[in-house]
C-alpha cells in the first residue's frame, strides 16, 4: 500500500507545483513508482512542467464523472520510467471536485494500491480545493518562502492539517536566498522553523535554472549541477527516510565561494 502526500501552502505562487513535480521525479529516479495528481482544478500546471501537455487526453474530472477509466487518464513520463501523471481539468472548478469528494477518495485509494507514492499538487488557499485535496492524504508537505505573508499563511494551513489529523507534515522552505539571510535581510531557516514549529524536509535555494528547466518541460531534479536540482534530490531521499545532512550556504557557490576555494587551493 502506497502513501498519499499532499503538497500545500496557503499562499499561492510559493512553489507547490515545482515541489510536487521535482519530488515526484526525485522519488521515481530513486526507483519508486510515483503518481503525480494535479488537483489544482481549473489551473492545470503539472502537465506543462513535466513536458507532457501534448499527451493529455483525459483528466481527473473525466475519471470522477465516469467518462473514462482511471488507467486511460494516467500518462507515463517521457524520461523517468516510473513517473506518471494524472492531469487536472482546465474547464472545471474547485467546487466540482469537492462535490464528488467520496468518488475522489475512492480514486486515491485505488491509486495507493498501484503506486508507492501518490503526490497531490493542491491549489493555493484554504477553501474547497485544499480541503478536498488534503482529505485523503496520509502526510503533508507545506511549502513556504521566507516571507512574512507566506509564513503567516503556512501557519494557518498547518493548523488546518492538524485539525484534520494529518500529523506527519513537513516544511519545504523555497526560494531561500543565502546572501540575503547572511546580511540579515531575510528570515533564516531557524526563525521560520521556530515560528511554525514544524519539521524541516528541505531548503530550496532561489535558482533561475528553475525557470529554464520549466521552459523546456524538464525536471530540475534530474540535474546534478544545479543548486535547486541537488536540493530536490536531497528532499526526495529524506522523504524516503534517509538521513541527509543539510548543507549550509548552498548558494555560496557564487563568485565569493570560487575566490575562497581558489585561495584555499593556492
Amino acid at each position: 500500500m502506497g502513501k498519499c502526500i499532499v503538497v500545500t501552502s496557503g499562499k499561492g505562487g510559493v512553489g507547490k507545483t515545482t515541489t510536487s513535480a521535482n519530488l515526484g521525479g526525485g522519488l521515481a529516479s530513486l526507483g519508486k513508482s510515483v503518481l503525480l495528481a494535479d488537483v489544482d482544478i481549473g489551473l492545470r500546471n503539472l502537465d506543462i512542467i513535466l513536458g507532457l501537455e501534448k499527451r493529455i487526453v483525459y483528466d481527473v474530472m473525466d475519471v470522477m464523472e465516469g467518462r473514462c477509466k482511471i488507467q486511460q487518464a494516467i500518462v507515463k513520463d517521457k524520461r523517468i520510467s516510473s513517473l506518471y501523471l494524472l492531469a487536472a481539468s482546465q474547464i472545471h472548478d474547485k467546487s466540482d471536485l469537492a462535490e464528488l469528494i467520496d468518488r475522489f477518495g475512492e480514486i486515491i485509494k485505488g491509486l495507493k494500491n498501484q503506486f508507492d507514492y501518490v503526490i497531490l499538487d493542491s491549489p493555493a488557499g484554504i477553501e474547497q480545493g485544499f480541503m478536498a485535496a488534503s482529505n485523503f492524504a496520509d502526510e503533508a508537505i507545506v511549502v513556504t518562502t521566507p516571507e512574512v505573508t507566506a509564513v503567516r499563511d503556512a501557519d494557518r494551513v498547518i493548523g488546518l492539517l492538524e485539525a484534520k489529523g494529518i500529523k506527519d507534515h513537513y516544511l519545504v522552505l523555497n526560494r531561500y536566498r543565502y546572501a540575503m539571510v547572511k546580511s540579515g535581510n531575510m528570515l533564516d531557516v531557524e526563525d521560520v522553523l521556530h515560528i511554525l514549529g514544524i519539521q524541516l524536509l528541505g531548503i530550496v535555494p532561489e535558482d533561475p535554472e528553475i525557470i529554464t528547466f520549466a521552459n523546456k518541460g524538464e525536471l530540475i531534479v534530474t540535474s546534478d549541477i544545479t543548486n535547486a536540482g541537488k536540493a530536490f534530490q536531497r528532499i526526495s531521499r529524506r522523504l524516503m527516510g534517509e538521513k541527509v545532512d543539510f548543507p549550509s550556504f548552498e548558494e555560496e557557490k557564487g563568485l565569493l565561494k570560487k575566490i575562497k576555494d581558489f585561495l584555499r587551493l593556492g
Binding site: 503567516r152 531575510m186 528570515l187 515560528i195
Partner: protein, 84 residues
C-alpha cells in the same frame, strides 16, 4: 551590555523585525482573537476584579505574550490602588 556594545549597538536587523511582527500576528491568528475581542476581554476582567478590589483602571493591562517556549501566556497586569 558592555560599553562597546552600547556604543556600537546597531538597529534591529530587518529579519528580526520580520520575525517579531510574524510572532505577534500569529499569536492572535492562532487564538482567533482580534484586537476588538482583546479589548472586550480586558474590560470584562477589569470589571470583575474591580468589584472586589480598588484598582487603577487606567493602568490595567491584558495582553498575550509568546515566550521562547511554545506556550503563549495571557498576562493580566492590574495595579491596585494604595490604601492606608
Amino acid at each position: 551590555m558592555g560599553i562597546l556594545d552600547f556604543l556600537f549597538k546597531k538597529e534591529d536587523k530587518n529579519s528580526t523585525i520580520a520575525k517579531e511582527r510574524l510572532q505577534f500576528v500569529l499569536t492572535f491568528d492562532r487564538l482567533s482573537i482580534n484586537p476588538a475581542l482583546q479589548e472586550k476581554i480586558r474590560e470584562e476582567i477589569i470589571q470583575v476584579i474591580g468589584k472586589y478590589m480598588e484598582i487603577d483602571e487606567e493602568a490595567a493591562n491584558v495582553f498575550v505574550e509568546s515566550t521562547e517556549s511554545d506556550l503563549s501566556h495571557l498576562i493580566v497586569n492590574i495595579p491596585l490602588k494604595r490604601k492606608r
